[in-house]
Symmetry: D2
Subunit: 145 residues, 4 copies
């Protein structure tokens, strides 16, 4: 299914909004891909982002893939609208350990009000790239009041 | 349904494990209630935890309620076991804005292998306490190898 | 949180819509409670509704609790609108076996566009009532074109 | 990721178990593909399987894709074990209307205890095949007592 941007300025507006997500700066996440319906976020491993066993905390895994999916949806929205995540579900597939993590957000179906996105998170180390989580989310497109 | 701890040391082991979740220190979250099957986590609002509109990022909301639910499950587990979140689903009900947030993790059904937990997150300000998110999760009990 | 119906005719419209869900007749499900934001559906156990071990199939469990939640949402909607389930998540807690099943749909938050509902399914036999499933769903309110 | 069956008899055991899911006969669903980690189920449209607008009821959509995913997992399990769905989440993407429906269950990650599956449901008519739902589920492998 083709993902046609309805706003030629889509990449710039995604980058500008991401820059305002101050939690992304706190954890050290970066936008590494912005295409229509496809947004990737990279997060280097840091010990201060982990749960009790030294794995990336599920909430941080969720944060990067939720943002990647939200911005994948946002890239397809008309100018002058914003997106909010209504809900998401995430399955944690393997311990989240690696040199860095890559969250790849994609669009299942872009609708006028609701967009359904999915995404995978990979743990990457020098000799391996493995999937650690998969997410399915519902995003609502809102117009400013 | 009664929640009987199978480890008399449950409160201490929850606190000890929480102290090792270094991301909780990074974001400023604290354990404020540890009872069998009931764990609450408090998180003061900070601007560096937010998404593009200044609301708490969904991943951070997820982080505190996932941990609260995980520790609610852990409080009921036998000594010498650990818990991991297999999956969770979260609905974001209202903009996450307030003086602080309270994540209350509870147990739907504690099983030998799988425990199902649920939890709500509230935004609290001087004159209001409102629900901002609700989560339903599946937690797996693992024995160390 | 109070659930105020915005349509005085709410009970009649729920019953009329339920009567048009022909799958409910096929499986033998009945509406047994219609209050604002609270709808219960009862389903007697039948061998032809089961999976390979003789338990109620998860899809049938989902069918009755999804309908109960959808109608709980519908009971709070203005006249002239309809509801559709955008998504749901269900945890299956215990084998679905009993004389009959009771699905209780409730509302977490009723919104203008999206309503979040939750519900539990109980298996009832002569000497026991136990929870077998819990669901969390997102329902969209639509106006006819 | 390769899906290697650990039971040479996998196709036969899937077919035998499916034949015991009596609800599949009630609704008219058939197994149309059984490969390691890939199971498809076909369901012709019938008016007595619908919700209030004549679309396939979400519970029936869920029933066929949950079974397809469960059997995709079962096809990879060792002999002498059974599978149960622990939980699933489904997003309903478009009105479920067509000549027939095709539910394609696939495996995200097959584990010793937990397997994560995903699947899509398509509505097929003479001139169109469109996705109507997507599911993400967690399946537990159990050994008979």
């Amino acid at each position: 299914m083709a993902n046609e941007p309805r706003d030629n300025n889509f990449a710039e507006k995604v980058r500008e909004s991401f820059a305002r997500q101050s939690v992304m700066a706190l954890i050290g996440a970066k936008l590494v891909r912005v295409e229509p319906g496809k947004v990737d976020i990279k997060l280097p491993y840091r010990r201060d982002l982990t749960q009790q066993n030294g794995f990336l905390h599920a909430g941080i895994t969720a944060a990067i893939i939720d943002s990647a999916c939200g911005y994948a949806a946002f890239s397809l929205m008309p100018a002058g609208t914003d997106v909010l995540t209504a809900e998401f579900k995430i399955n944690l597939l393997s311990p989240a350990i690696g040199d860095y993590f890559l969250a790849a957000g994609r669009i299942h179906k872009a609708g006028k009000t609701l967009t359904v996105a999915h995404g995978d998170v990979f743990a990457v180390s020098s000799n391996e790239k493995k999937i650690i989580a998969t997410l399915l989310s519902t995003i609502i497109c809102v117009s400013p009041k």
